[in-house]
Subunit: 277 residues, 2 copies
Amino acid sequence: MQLALVVSIDETAFDAVAVRGSWAEGIRLAADLGYEGVELAIRDPRTVDARAIERTLRDSGLVTPAIGTGQAFLKEGLSLSDPDEGIRARAIERMEAHIHFAARFGAAVIIGLLRGRSIGSRAATASRLDASLRALLPIADREKVSILIEPINRYETDVLARIEDVLAVVDRMDSPALGVLADTFHMNIEETSIEQALRLAGQRLRLVHAADSNRLAPGWGHLDFTSIVGTLRDIGYRGFLSAEILPRPDPLAAARQTIAHLRPLLGKAAHPKGGYA
Amino acid sequence: MQLALVVSIDETAFDAVAVRGSWAEGIRLAADLGYEGVELAIRDPRTVDARAIERTLRDSGLVTPAIGTGQAFLKEGLSLSDPDEGIRARAIERMEAHIHFAARFGAAVIIGLLRGRSIGSRAATASRLDASLRALLPIADREKVSILIEPINRYETDVLARIEDVLAVVDRMDSPALGVLADTFHMNIEETSIEQALRLAGQRLRLVHAADSNRLAPGWGHLDFTSIVGTLRDIGYRGFLSAEILPRPDPLAAARQTIAHLRPLLGKAAHPKGGYA
């Protein structure tokens, strides 16, 4: 298992790469602290400079396990399950752009909030989401890009709150491109047992978001990451633990705490590359 | 420690007391299952028949530790911290009615969602809430009714999420009428440690809402109620554990599970009064 930090890329920040707090700063910070990867949160990949990101990643020695897509829902209202065909078509088109972008980086594409919320009946919403996935999965399969659905707690969406809900979609779709992303903060609210849910996901688990019970850095809430990482080891998980955490008390302190708490559990020595230590 | 079940009273249901699912049914169900109390959720006490409630409680041998007030926020938009003076005045007036009603039952009055949400700056919101409390606490004190502020998780309100936030208000108000209600579901999301937060509350803790991590009945999520009840015993808590839980898979099953899981931890034999067993 390796560690990643979520870094947000957006066109505003992109124009000011030298400014502290830009995405390039974020990538270099992650590398300096000893992370092996960065998960990139991107609203629209057509507005970012993929080459500049590639270069920064290469210079930092980092990989990117996944691309987050939730900004397209939050800022533009795109949804893969919307009853409005135009909105749904734009959401699918956006996902296609994400898949092509992700292919370049060997990354997966996450479906978080972009799945939308129930409008009309839950069955009709689920069926529209299924149809969108059926349009996207052949493209993802061709590009060898995983699409990962993330269970999200009841307050953020009423669609697919638990691991078992997402596994039902994965089984229904029967595509090698589709997998599950498990987020420990959401699981703390929704799962009867975090460990049992991870075991249930098993080989279908392709990414883990690590945040504590209060969404702060691991170790600053009450989740038992020793038990969680132990369970992940038991099920043969070899992917990333990606820190999607609140930047409190500040981004640097939170990113440092994540490494300090999780690295010893992974059974590897920390290997900071200098700076910030 | 004793057990209570939350029962919602509203004027619509009140006209049909013989109908299964009415508040009177709820009270009798609680008694039959072995609860010692019911917490009553009431939108406006001036619209309910206090005498009928008294009679039903007396016949059932139950007490009511507290009155919940959140419906006045959810259905009427009343808020004790609203910048609109008229809304704030109506919220204060509603609380006064609740205090007089509660006095009759020896119950406390809960401030949950009725505190409102931040509008404008957080400091201005807090200051308006303080002013409302300063108007209400002398009345509560005179009536010997406790006002209990309940920390509520970030998704439902951005005002007073943690025990320590509420304790700061309690200390600032310096009134014997003001105390804290700790809800285990909200604490699971917001507190660094549920047990430490309960210890911090100490003698200022006057009511506990017991719900599991997923808001189902205790035992159906991952909270450690053995540890929670042990901590309550350590701090000398002698009040109610009141089940504010989702009625899933159905109200009866949830109410039964709560008793089955919590009663053995309280160190008392169960004493169902027949029916439903």
